[in-house]
Symmetry: C2
Subunit: 110 residues, 2 copies
DNA sequence: ACCGTAAATCGTCGATCAACGATAAAGGTA
DNA sequence: TACCTTTATCGTTGATCGACGATTTACGGT
């Protein structure tokens, strides 16, 4: 093996591609990512546990593995969540920048 | 005419029925209401202009009147927006309690 | 009573969502 | 290599969304 086979830390810094997207569009996208109870639960889990897991998420939700995988895909596409491959598993975690952005956009509604 | 035909103020206090709904469910609902750019625009308009109008909203969006009406319905169902009938027109405005609730729920994501 | 304006509702259509089981891909281990 | 585990993807199904035009409903004004 090279340096380290599987790094414990995952989801380092984040690109966050938000090119030419209006604030309204962006807020709508992020809101859409949260527009399902299961996804809210996933986000909360990822925030709570700094450690990012995937199988655990499946175990915690009353949904099939494929369904959870779909929700994770949607969350990843929104940028709110990232997933790093760690051996046979995938390590998911929150993109704090995006979460912060969402919070800023929502708080700015006034 | 009796006292005042059409009150200038509209959207007084708000009921806000959030009975037996978990926080996650609630956040998901509110997020869903914002999960479309047109609805974000509407919410922003209503926040900006204390005066609440409906025809103006239609005039400002590149959408048919019926489509805007649908979006308004969704926003009303979420509780984020209220509409009071004012003669032949309908006066829409933000439910500040709900907006605050949304902001609290999103800010609480940490 | 009649007309005009404002808004909601209806019906339709294509697109997307949400869920599942089944299957495939990718990596670790014996 | 063969297996096992983990996750993603495929294919399907029913439900909901988003948009529209057309129609209906509700008021105000004449």
């Amino acid at each position: 093996m090279s340096a380290r086979k599987s790094k414990v830390r995952c989801c380092d810094e984040t690109p966050v591609n938000v090119e030419g997207v209006s604030e309204g569009e962006l807020l709508a996208r992020l809101a859409k990512a949260l527009a399902h109870p299961a996804r809210v639960t996933i986000v909360r889990m990822l925030i709570e546990r700094a450690s990012c897991v995937c199988g655990e998420i499946v175990g915690e939700l009353p949904l099939a593995q494929s369904t959870v995988s779909q929700h994770l895909k949607i969350l990843k596409q929104s940028g709110l969540v990232q997933g790093d491959i760690d051996g046979p598993k995938v390590c998911y975690c929150i993109n704090k920048k995006m979460l912060k952005l969402l919070q800023t956009l929502v708080s700015g509604l006034k």
